[in-house]
């Protein structure tokens, strides 16, 4: 069944399921801590490819795989897998300066109780939107560096 994501989002907002941060307008600096990202230039080894570009590429590839696995875990109601994946995504996101993605992952990691799926659905939707913003900023940074 196809879901109209905007209608779904409105419904989740009405039910108070979406996290408050998920729908807010975000300035780039709120989405990615660019100072944190730029700090990885300190690890650059002379003569090797730009490490920040490498980290961005690894992150974007890894996020696509993890988001797919997260959706799969949600579809199969596999709570432990969902929490494990959210934990892993939190680590790399926070380290690359995507702190709001990391915060959403942490919320997802700690969804609990018998009826955890609605909260997880809302958080996953918020995560998708926040990741779209992060990827746009990373793409711009990548273009600037190459």
């Amino acid at each position: 069944m196809l879901i109209d994501s905007e209608k779904f989002e409105v419904a989740l907002n009405e039910k108070g399921v979406l996290p408050a941060s998920a729908g807010a307008f975000s300035a780039p600096a709120d989405v990615v801590d660019m100072e944190m990202l730029a700090s990885f230039g300190e690890a650059q080894i002379d003569g090797e490819p730009d490490i920040v570009v490498e980290l961005i590429d690894l992150y974007v590839t890894d996020v696509a795989a993890k988001m797919s696995a997260l959706r799969g875990a949600l579809d199969s109601s596999d709570g432990p897998a969902l929490r494990r994946l959210a934990h892993c995504l939190r680590g790399s996101s926070g380290n690359l300066g995507a702190h709001r993605v990391a915060a959403l992952c942490k919320e997802l990691e700690y969804v609990g109780g018998d009826d955890w799926r609605p909260a997880a659905v809302g958080l996953l939707l918020g995560l998708e939107r926040e990741l779209a913003r992060v990827e746009m900023i990373f793409a711009a940074e990548r273009r600037r560096r190459t």
Binding site: M36, S39, F40, E42, A43, I45, I51, E54, L55, L58, Y59, T61, D62, R84, H87, C88, R90, G91, S92, G94, N95, L96, G97, A102
Partner: protein, 139 residues
Amino acid sequence: MLAATAQASRRILVADDDPVIRHLVTTIVRKEGYTPVVVHDGRAAIRLLQSDANFRAAIFDMLMPHIEGIEIIRHMRTEKRLMRIPAMMITSEHDLKLMTNSFEAGATVFLPKPFKPAQLQTMLRMLVSKGDGAEQARG
């Protein structure tokens, strides 16, 4: 003999299932003049350590598939040929209890995420020097 082997080795074991953190850690390990030996999960780390103890230090992520970093360190501290290898624990958790548990298990240093390269460099130097200091004390 053990001391000479440990100090001469430039190899550092890195075990992390996250490709971003793994790349960052191995790059800094190389930048510091060491050779990273990389595995992607805890089981692979244990398997490698069963046949190879020639490491100057080891860096483990806390939560990895199959076997967690803290379990690897516990295992290392029970094996005579592995107990001299200093170990760093990296984790996203900022829980004091987890830090205490890591040190009790035998971790030498503890690095919470997110971290900047300079923090990892400092921790790596501390890790290696603690390992070298322990070797010299043993004679």
